[in-house]
């Protein structure tokens, strides 16, 4: 796939995610109407749910990047600090190489090295790093990390990832809330029991299962979607700087810091260059570890990069 196909692919996936999100709300609304709102003539919950879903998706599209940045306490760079000035320079260099507008740069005060990019398009993108990353890496390695993030920006990974972060987060929140209201809410006791009772029961059970499973499923999807993209961003980042070994050594240094990145919560994990959960999953491969990891094992990524430089 070339860059345009990748962009188109990501745009399609973003639409699919939004569509799935809104259908989920439609489903939720239908269930509510069936369960609670039989007395009303209008499918009032369905209408509310759809409107809610559309508004959520659109506002997430518009302001999601700001939400993500503020949730990690990211702030603007201090250009008088030599290391932060260097980071700003490196980002400018790579944006020239990639031929895209200069993204906004942010810093997160956190000793653990990590970085992520977000935004809905290259024109509105932001790249954030932790102060730990700036301390741990040298100039070439910082450039490699910037190039990795820049490729996420360039091929519209950021838009898809942002929508997933915002929508998955809100589904998890909502599912939690509906589960409680289902178990403790005041149910109507005089439900129509004559005819279709079985069907009603089946529909209800399916609906309940979906409500409970949705957050898990959406989380799994977020993970699957992001893992392939990391290899790809590694490769196209190395293509920008023509220096795959710098990224390999950057990843090595990042993975040698075992601690989790505390300022980055689970909802935005898939945006980062390395899994903010820390080492636990980074090295293992296969089975369950593979299923629940937002990132491919770091050792595999390093090997892939070394092979690009013809080093075994």
């Amino acid at each position: 796939m070339n860059i345009y196909e990748r962009q188109a692919h990501n745009r399609r996936w973003t639409w699919f995610i939004v569509f799935a999100f809104i259908s989920f709300f439609l489903f939720l609304g239908l269930g509510f109407d069936y369960y609670y709102g039989a007395r009303l003539e209008m499918p009032i919950f369905t209408v509310i749910a759809i409107i809610f879903g559309v508004v959520m998706a659109y506002s997430g599209y518009l302001w999601g990047d700001k939400l993500v940045l503020s949730s990690t306490h990211a702030k603007g760079l201090d250009l008088n600090d030599p290391k932060q000035k260097q980071w700003q320079n490196v980002v400018e260099e790579v944006s020239i190489a990639a031929g895209i507008p200069l993204p906004k740069t942010y810093i997160i005060e956190d000793p653990d090295p990590n970085a992520f990019a977000t935004g809905r398009s290259p024109e509105t993108s932001s790249i954030a790093v932790t102060s730990g990353l700036l301390d741990a890496l040298n100039r070439d390695e910082l450039q490699a990390v910037a190039a990795h993030e820049m490729s996420h920006v360039k091929n519209f990974d950021i838009r898809l990832m942002l929508m997933i972060a915002v929508l998955v987060g809100s589904i998890a929140l909502l599912a939690d809330w509906t589960r409680r209201s289902l178990f403790f809410g005041n149910r109507r006791s005089d439900r129509r029991s004559e005819g279709g009772g079985y069907v009603a029961l089946v529909v209800l059970v399916v609906w309940l299962i979906t409500v409970i499973l949705a957050p898990i499923l959406s989380q799994l999807m977020a993970m699957c979607v992001s893992r392939k993209r990391e290899y790809l961003a590694d490769a196209s980042g190395a293509e920008l700087t023509r220096n795959p070994l710098a990224l390999a050594s950057a990843l090595e240094k990042i993975s040698s810091h075992e601690g989790p990145t505390r300022s980055i919560n689970q909802g935005t994990a898939h945006l980062c260059i390395c899994d903010p959960k820390g080492m636990a999953m980074g090295m293992k491969d296969g089975g369950l570890a593979n299923l629940f990891a937002t990132h491919p094992p770091i050792q595999k990524r390093i090997e892939a990069l070394r092979q690009m430089a013809y080093i075994k």
Binding site: P82, K85, Q86, N89, V90, E92, E93, V94, I96, A97, G99, R139, Q143, L240, R242
Partner: protein
């Protein structure tokens, strides 16, 4: 009947030529824009050099030769015209700057000077930007040239007055020279 067929073929050819022309114009403008990006970065470097020379002059006064070399190389680079000439002069300037920074290493009080390290960072960043802008320019210029030279576009490209874009290459003899390694064991 034959007349209609000829007319139809002619229409197809004209429509195709219009498409070729438009895509070539688009590529040409991208190439020009890529070249402007290099120019912006070159200017940035030219502006930084007087600052650098001013800062290190006091301490490195007896390295006068290197300093004049840098200034002269800068002035020649500014006045250079055309892609090939610019590439040569900028490479001379890069070499002179490298020499200067190598000398700075000999002066501990310069190395620890905040202004010098700031300028050094700015210049190495500019050096990278020039490299990346060149990479970007060469990629797009190559695309433009390939579009002009491949069949069947080449039949109309010449007629429409398109010319191949010059690549920004390292033409400095010293940079191309392969380092000699003496493998004889003594």
């Amino acid at each position: 009947m034959v007349g209609w067929i000829i007319l139809g073929v002619l229409a197809v050819v004209v429509i195709w030529a219009i498409g070729v022309f438009n895509s070539l114009v688009s590529l040409k403008n991208q190439t020009l824009n890529g070249w402007k990006q290099i120019d912006v970065q070159l200017k940035r470097r030219h502006d930084l050099i007087p600052n650098l020379v001013e800062t290190v002059k006091g301490v490195m006064s007896f390295e006068q030769k290197t300093l004049t070399q840098v200034i002269e190389a800068r002035n020649r680079a500014i006045s250079a015209q055309g892609v090939a000439d610019k590439a040569v002069q900028e490479n001379v300037l890069s070499g002179a700057l490298r020499q200067l920074f190598a000398l700075v290493e000999n002066y501990p009080n310069l190395k620890s000077n905040e202004n010098v390290s700031k300028l050094q960072e700015e210049l190495s960043s500019t050096e990278n930007r020039i490299g990346f802008a060149r990479q970007f320019y060469n990629d797009i210029a190559t695309k433009f040239n390939i579009a002009q030279q491949t069949f069947p576009t080449n039949m109309v490209a010449g007629m429409l007055g398109f010319q191949a874009a010059e690549l920004f290459e390292i033409t400095d003899a010293a940079e191309k020279e392969v380092p000699k390694v003496d493998l004889n064991l003594k």
